[in-house]
């Protein structure tokens, strides 16, 4: 198994390590484009965020968690001026990066699946491995569409398609695949074109939708070598459709750009050949735009899967730069990440001090407030309350049963994802709407849910603070653990005053203080 993984890794092209300096070229290009846009509109971009803000932001964006108190202290005490750049580079090479990003990619690719299907755990393993290999996004996309069944790692990628072949009738399955592929790999939705030629995008005819579907006409599932479903390609029937005025037609194999494709080597392989390329606009733009949105909070094109002429980017040249750079460098995901992360656009403050109303996030003048995603929130809550330390001790005791060699933080977070409380939080905080919107159920959860109450038990940070005799130390440890920064003088005084409240047990007052921070906006958002 191990040998097979190694072979697979070696077979993948474009796995060269990222050179930090290279990614900075891209950052400069980004900043030049936005500077021009700001100059044209007279906008005044916000200054760079404070170091502690960058610390938390970079950890959340790259590793999906907040820094530990030790990590925070090391960073905050570092006197160098470019420490955030160093942090970005070191986290891009951090072993937890694949553990976090496998979830992000799974959400991008499969977030709309209504239920989990067999093979999800293995698909996460697959993504983690490819991220660890620093596989090019083109190599991953190739495996998503046409996995190599003989290679045990690659075979796990079949889930992207088999999960959509698991329920419903054949027609619904084909529709689900067509939608998933066009949306998540090529950044376009073609539902309109399903029933009639597209009204505002001249190039997209009804034929395009069915043309894309036709690439999967021979795709079925079969029992794989392991217990997982695998993909089979049978001699395909034809995809037929009925136009409004044209009567029934047979779909040709047609890619989005209008090219009719010859598919002697298999239809899905032909789609890879036609679509997963550095030349065509769809594949590279889709990921460039998603990644940009992931870090800045707002896509250059929104929604991210409606990239077409009728819905132009806010900054078209910038999108083009990102996509071109991405394609020219072997679809290197870490380079794309690094390019965005090192830019001043990313490093700006989220605080707006005027004049006038706060500019729209889509102008990239001020950093957006990004609500923590449900997995980020779950882990950050566990960290901020000291619950991860409790978990670490528990997993240490259960090491043998859990088959863990050493209980690293990476191991803790993976194991935590399997806990029932984790699933419950994800379900409660699931965000489907376009705009962030909190509900009373969220606040009730953060205040009274038994899982959160357990995190606020004396076993965690609350107990540690209650035992701390020195008042100033309470506020310091509290702020460092929950918000990754020291408290201001005013904040420390407010905490001390609260702890002096008469008639309430000290432990209760410490619980108030931890709760006041984890329920606050500074905690709820990545800012």
């Amino acid at each position: 198994m191990r040998a097979a993984i190694l072979t697979a890794a070696l077979l993948l092209a474009g796995t060269a390590p990222v050179h930090a300096a290279d990614a900075r070229e891209l950052s400069k290009a980004i900043d030049a484009r936005l500077a021009a846009a700001h100059k044209a509109t007279g906008a005044k971009p916000a200054p760079r965020a404070e170091p502690h803000e960058l610390l938390r932001r970079i950890y959340l964006d790259v590793l999906g968690r907040i820094p530990t108190p030790e990590e925070a202290t090391a960073f905050l005490n570092d006197p160098s001026a470019d420490k955030h750049h160093k942090l970005i580079d070191s986290l891009l090479a951090h072993p937890e990066l694949p553990v976090y990003w496998r979830g992000v990619f799974n959400q991008w690719l499969n977030g709309t699946l209504e239920e989990k299907r067999p093979g999800e755990a293995e698909f996460l393993d697959y993504l983690e491995q490819r991220l660890r290999d620093n596989a090019g996004w083109d190599a991953v996309a190739r495996e998503l569409l046409d996995p190599n069944a003989a290679d045990p790692v690659s075979a796990q990628a079949a889930y992207f398609l088999t999960s959509r072949l698991a329920g419903g009738d054949r027609a619904a399955q084909l529709d689900s695949i067509t939608v998933a592929v066009s949306s998540s790999l090529f950044g376009v939705q073609m539902q309109c074109a399903k029933c009639h030629d597209h009204p505002t995008v001249g190039d997209w005819k009804q034929e395009n939708y069915y043309g894309l579907a036709a690439f999967f006409a021979g795709t079925y599932t079969e029992k794989g070598k392991t217990n997982l479903p695998a993909l089979a390609e049978r001699a395909p029937g034809e995809v037929k459709f009925t136009g409004r005025n044209t009567g029934e037609r047979t779909a040709r194999l047609l890619f989005l750009d209008g090219k009719v494709i010859d598919a002697k080597a298999g239809r899905r392989r032909a789609l890879v050949g036609a679509g997963v390329t550095a030349d065509g606009p769809y594949f590279k733009r889709a990921m460039a735009n998603r990644m940009w949105r992931q870090f800045t909070g707002v896509g250059l094109v929104e929604p991210v899967d409606q990239i077409h002429d009728g819905n132009p980017a806010t900054h078209p040249e910038l999108l083009n730069d990102l996509a071109t750079d991405f394609a020219q460098h072997g679809f290197d995901l870490r380079r794309l990440m690094g390019g965005i992360l090192h830019s001043e656009a990313y490093l700006r403050s989220s605080r707006y001090t005027g004049p006038g109303p706060r500019p729209a996030d889509s102008t990239y003048t001020v950093a957006a407030l990004k609500p923590l995603s449900p997995p980020q929130l779950a882990l950050a809550l566990a960290q901020a309350t000291g619950h991860t330390e409790t978990l670490r001790a528990k997993y240490e005791r259960e090491k043998a049963k859990l088959k863990l060699e050493t209980v690293t933080f990476g191991a803790v977070r993976k194991q935590f994802e399997k806990e029932r409380e984790h699933a419950a939080l994800l379900a409660r905080f699931k965000q489907e709407g376009e705009a962030f919107r909190a509900s009373a159920a969220h606040a009730l959860y953060l205040t009274y849910n038994p899982a959160v109450r357990a995190m606020l038990s004396p076993n965690g940070l609350v107990g540690k603070l209650a035992k701390q005799p020195e008042e100033g130390e309470v506020a310091r440890v509290l702020y460092l653990t929950a918000l990754s920064r020291p408290p201001s003088t005013e904040e420390a005084a407010a905490v001390a005053k609260h702890l002096a409240a008469p008639g309430v047990a000290r432990e209760e007052l410490c619980r108030d203080a931890v709760w006041a921070l984890i329920s606050g906006s500074e905690f709820r958002f990545n800012h």
Partner: protein, 436 residues
């Protein structure tokens, strides 16, 4: 080889020529802004008219033969007898004496027709008006739409969910693209109040206020220069918690006189119907009540015996609910709907104790109050209940009717990512005039 499914819905994803222009028009409100603007507008509108909905959902698919459209004596009729209702010539199942007594106050549709015979898909369709898709925009529960269009006044929750089907797949559809702010406030059933809300006690409120004061104080530094709609909504959610703590008696059934509670029957449904009545009386606009978890109405086997008990507890609880609403002067502004996701086959099947399978071609439901014309029976099925004889009513028609009764035009379009999404599938459907 079949073609991919016909459009679930033409989402008109990109029919709007330039979303950007639209966004710029909204100025600083941008992405986070639409919903807020709409909600504020709607709150003003809502102050004028006060209408309520209690949806009692019969998960699993109730049999029309054993409820509102009996075919006693026919080969498809099953062993149940029927009973004369207060509407001449109209008979219901023998185990629905209260609903039979109230037939002249309510309406029945005997000619519902839909297309999705799977529980999950049917559930979704019957509660969102849209077919499930794997597309990015998940349709909201129609009561979330109502909460969006006609939010509660006075800080009360706009929409409360009492009980749910157990298990993830059958979960009550959520707020979809409207976002968590329109999620029904979930209460776990059996008359209990909201999940995670502590039981009544002065201590909790004092404790919460103590913490909330510290929270506000420690939040000041961050808020300066970051007063965005997102941050406001996060703070508002904690304000809502305080409001709930202050108004816990809203959910406190111990405040109800035992005599009132008794009428609803000693069942989980009885408790939830009583709670629904209490909530409506106190001003909550929209309530969904789940009748038992585990797809109780899904009687594939052993149908007719166990059905008696199920139907009886249902009849007792919803009968008491309707009586209660009438007695308290709430009936004229409260729409009560009794329905499941589909009906059941005319054929009686099964090895061993018989039952009926899923059936979408012709099924029944009942509605009343809020101006629904009383004593009306819409549509009919043939002698054996194998097909609709006249006046088919589709899911879009049904939703157009619900919305019309609430004073909402079903052709209203919501915004999702700059694209218009009509309340019913493609804006189809026409209100069932017979009940208006």
């Amino acid at each position: 080889m079949t073609a991919p499914a016909r459009p679930v819905e033409c989402r008109r994803a990109d029919h709007r020529a330039s979303r950007r222009l639209f966004l710029q028009g909204a100025g600083a409100a941008a992405l986070g802004g639409f919903g807020r603007l709409f909600a504020a507008d709607n709150a003003a509108k809502a102050a004028g008219q006060e209408k309520h909905v209690i949806l009692v959902f019969m998960s699993g698919g109730p049999s029309q033969f054993e409820t509102w459209d009996p075919k006693t004596g026919r080969p498809t009729g099953g062993p149940h007898m029927n009973t004369q209702t207060t509407v001449p010539g109209v008979r219901f199942d023998e185990y629905m004496p209260n609903l039979a007594r109230l037939a002249d106050k309510t309406a029945v549709i005997r000619s519902m027709t839909s297309s999705l015979g799977d529980h999950m898909e049917g559930h979704y369709l019957a509660q969102t008006g849209h077919k499930p898709t794997n597309v990015v925009a998940t349709a909201p529960h129609w009561l979330s739409v109502c909460a969006h269009q006609k939010p509660a006044a006075n800080g009360l929750p706009s929409y409360v969910v009492l009980g749910a089907e157990q298990g993830g797949n059958m979960a009550v559809p959520g707020p979809g693209f409207l976002g968590a702010g329109y999620q029904g406030l979930f209460c776990p059933g059996k008359g209990q109040g909201p999940e995670d809300l502590p039981a009544a006690g002065a201590k909790d409120l004092a404790e919460f206020q103590r913490r909330a004061a510290l929270r506000a104080k420690l939040g000041e530094g961050f808020a300066a220069g970051r007063d965005t709609p997102s941050a406001q909504s996060h703070d508002a959610a904690f304000g809502a918690v305080e409001h709930l703590l202050r108004n816990r008696d809203l959910f406190d059934l111990s405040k109800e006189p035992p005599k009132r509670a008794e009428k609803y029957g000693p069942t989980a449904l009885g408790r939830d119907c009583l709670l629904a009545a209490r909530l409506v009386e106190k001003g909550v606009p929209f309530v969904r009540v789940q009748h038992q978890g585990g797809l109780a109405w899904d009687k594939h086997r052993r149908a007719f015996d166990s059905q008696r008990h199920l139907t009886r507890e249902f009849d007792t609880a919803v009968g008491a609910l309707i009586d209660d609403l009438r007695a308290r002067g709430l009936w004229d502004k409260t729409l009560v709907i009794l329905m499941g996701e589909f009906g059941r086959t005319p054929e009686i099947l099964g090895q061993g104790p018989p039952g009926r399978n899923h059936w979408t071609k012709s099924w029944s439901l009942s509605l009343g109050g809020c101006g629904v014309k009383p004593g009306v029976v819409v549509g009919s099925t043939n002698e054996d209940g194998t097909a609709i004889e006249d006046r088919p009513v589709t899911i879009p028609d049904l939703f157009a009717t619900f919305y019309a009764l609430l004073g909402i035009d079903h052709r209203t379009e919501l915004e999702f990512e700059g694209r218009p999404v009509p309340l019913t599938e493609n804006g189809k459907g026409a209100p069932v005039k017979e009940v208006l």
